[in-house]
């Protein structure tokens, strides 16, 4: 089957693991006479219109199936309906949820959700003794990053503690020093903060320096998603955990399930298929590192 996969910017570490997943699934699909085309956003600047544009592009290519993350339902739903109306099989991945998949007529939902991932992080903090957590958002205004911070905040509040967001202006996006210094300044200003969580793995590298600079060694660090340096910190004990949604599985499963459904009429009884949130901390770090070696985690 000819499959199109809509995805995030591919200089984004997270989406590269999804891409690894679908790349690994591709040979089997090609062997059955199909193809896989990854349509990725250039950036997240003009989010909703760009995503819809990609869905329309996929429809125009006469594919048999599309893997779609339903980030902005209000915007994407009409396009997804059009795709299904055009006879294309759709599977939702990474964002959307089971209810949405049923509503639209997609064959399944594979992934996790940002908000529960945030809640999982907040719970972890609350359980491990943090009372005031700062959620560093380098992309304020984006739905998915806002949801993450909101989840953390809700879980902390539910446990009787505090959490707030630190939105950074676009001038500091991609400048680790600016991010690190912003975190340091916030910690210096409010010394009750004892936990910091960043919306991406790269920002955690800056946050580690910011915390170290502030001299407040008791501040616990965590991140959404993970990278090599972050895992090294978890192993060394300078970062407490990372929230992982196992993107490799999302890409791999979504693509192969979709192709198999089209080519062989299979269908999975499990609905939805959840791949996260998983927590990576000192307890499971070594197994994770093996996957990292191969570019899947």
């Amino acid at each position: 089957a000819d499959i199109a996969v809509i995805g995030g910017s591919n200089d984004d570490a997270f989406w590269n693991k999804i891409k690894k997943g679908l790349d690994d699934a591709t040979p089997a699909i090609v062997a059955n006479g199909g193809s896989v085309n990854y349509l990725r956003l250039q950036n997240y600047d003009n989010f909703a219109p760009d995503v819809v544009q990609l869905i329309r592009t996929a429809i125009s290519q006469d594919v048999d199936g599309i893997v779609i993350p339903n980030w902005v339902p209000e915007a994407e739903d009409p396009a997804i309906k059009d795709a299904i109306a055009a006879g294309i099989t759709v599977i939702l991945m990474n964002a959307g949820g089971a209810d949405k998949a049923k509503e639209l007529g997609a064959i399944n939902y594979i992934g996790n959700e940002e908000y529960p991932a945030g809640v999982a992080g907040g719970d972890y903090f609350a359980k491990h003794g943090q009372k005031h957590v700062l959620c560093v958002n380098t992309l304020p205004g984006s739905t998915n990053t806002e949801d993450r911070c909101r989840g953390v905040a809700d879980a902390m509040t539910a446990a009787g503690f505090k959490s707030e967001q630190l939105p950074l202006p676009t001038t500091s996006f991609g400048d680790p020093t600016a991010v690190a210094e912003a975190i340091k300044a916030t910690l210096l200003k409010d010394t009750t903060i004892d936990g910091v969580i960043t919306i991406s793995a790269g920002d955690a590298d800056s946050a580690a320096t910011g915390i170290q600079q502030s001299g407040l060694t008791t501040v616990a660090l965590a991140s959404f998603d993970m990278n090599e340096a972050g895992l090294a910190r978890i192993k060394a004990g300078t970062q407490s955990f990372a929230i992982d949604q196992q993107p490799y599985l999302q890409g791999f499963l979504a693509t192969s399930l979709l192709a198999s459904a089209i080519d062989f009429g299979t269908s999975l009884p499990t609905f939805p298929v959840l791949t996260g949130p998983g927590i990576v901390d000192a307890s499971n770090i070594d197994a994770t590192l093996v996957g990292v070696e191969k570019g899947a985690r």
Binding site: N10, K19, N37, Y38, L39, R40, Q42, N43, Y44, D45, N46, F47, A48, P49, V52, Q53, L54, R56, T57, I59, S60, Q61, D62, V72, E74, A75, E76, D77, P78, D82, L139, P140, G141, S142, T143, E146, P167, P169, T170, T171
Partner: protein, 335 residues
């Protein structure tokens, strides 16, 4: 109307190079992207992108011709989108009110930009940079204050949806394409046929001489800033209506993309030279390059590289072809 007297004259026009560049990338993607790229659905895919960009690129290009820059458009797109979403979505007021307010915000920011540029000696890059940040801050702050969220839904029905945010032609082509073509035609008239166009070119060529020649340079500058920020608010508003939702973030890519389209379209960065048709071709070229890549088999990890090289080649072709054409023109007899 006999506009060009010879091939040489034709190729000396500002849009000639842009056209050659457009032609080259079309060939490239037809070869590497295959037929789907040229099927109606494929064409719609880059036309839609070009239309949204093009409505903003033309006034940005006019400002560049007049010797100014406007980067605040990057914040005006979300402002336009958020305004209509908050008024007509969150508060549930009439969609027409939302549209009117969104557009008037565009006019107001444009007036502020324009006044600051003419009243102070601050370069327009910095003035509009200031308003870029300020408007971004206002959109984020107010939206969170009002809706406690950074994403607001909006459901539009009826004629407003049809006019501003729908698809036609088998659900493929955005109405924005029609707006873009109509607006382009209006600009062509305004810039190349009415007297105002002459004023814009004169302002970019030599602002002091233009003022000395009696051109109301200040009023024209303000007008152009109003045009660009209102156009950006218009595009944001239409996107919100089309996609039924508005986000606080976003729109920043319009800053660079519009400048790129304008310069690829043959407008001189330093002002005084360019054409609407050129900007039109430049926008199309840019849209084809960025969208066409999805129709090819190249590994997506390398797509930025390919876009970079193609853009460079398109602009290079501009210059080389034009030069070649000029020097191969028939020699005049020696007098």
């Amino acid at each position: 109307m006999k506009l060009f007297s010879s091939l040489g004259g034709l190729l000396r026009r500002p849009e000639a190079g842009a056209f050659l560049g457009l032609f080259a990338v079309l060939i490239f993607f037809t070869v590497f992207g295959g037929l789907t790229f040229l099927k109606p659905a494929g064409i719609a895919s880059w036309m839609n992108v070009a239309a949204n960009l093009g409505v903003i690129a033309i006034p940005v290009g006019l400002l560049m011709i007049a010797g100014e820059l406007d980067i605040s458009v990057g914040a005006m797109v979300p402002l336009g989108a958020m305004t209509v979403a908050v008024i007509s979505g969150h508060y549930g007021l009439s969609i027409w009110l939302g549209i009117a307010v969104a557009l008037s915000f565009g006019v107001i920011v444009g007036l502020i930009n324009g006044y600051m540029v003419i009243r102070t000696a601050v370069p327009s890059l910095i003035v509009t940079l200031g308003s870029l940040f300020a408007v971004q801050g206002i959109v984020l702050g107010l939206t969170v204050l009002i809706t406690k969220s950074t994403s607001v839904a909006l459901a539009t029905e009826g004629s407003a949806k049809t006019i501003f945010g729908d698809f036609f032609f088998g659900g493929q082509v955005q109405v924005m394409v029609i707006w873009w073509l109509a607006i382009t035609a209006a600009y062509i008239f305004f810039v190349h046929f009415s007297r105002f166009g002459n004023w814009i070119f004169a302002m970019g060529g030599d602002k002091i001489s233009a003022r000395n020649a009696g051109i109301p340079t200040e009023r024209m500058t303000i007008l152009l800033f109003v045009l660009s920020s209102t156009s950006a608010a218009f595009v944001g508003m239409c996107q919100a209506i089309l996609y039924n939702s508005a986000q606080v973030a976003g729109g920043q890519s319009f800053i660079f993309n519009s400048i790129i389209s304008v310069v690829v379209g043959g407008v001189l960065l330093t002002g005084g030279f360019g054409s609407i048709v050129g900007i039109f071709f430049g926008t199309l070229t840019f849209a084809i390059v960025t969208q066409g890549i999805y129709y090819t088999d190249f590994d997506r990890n390398w797509s930025s590289l390919i876009i970079g090289i193609l853009l460079l080649l398109a602009v290079l072709m501009n210059n080389t072809f034009r030069k070649m054409a000029l020097s191969y023109a028939p020699k005049k007899a020696v007098k």
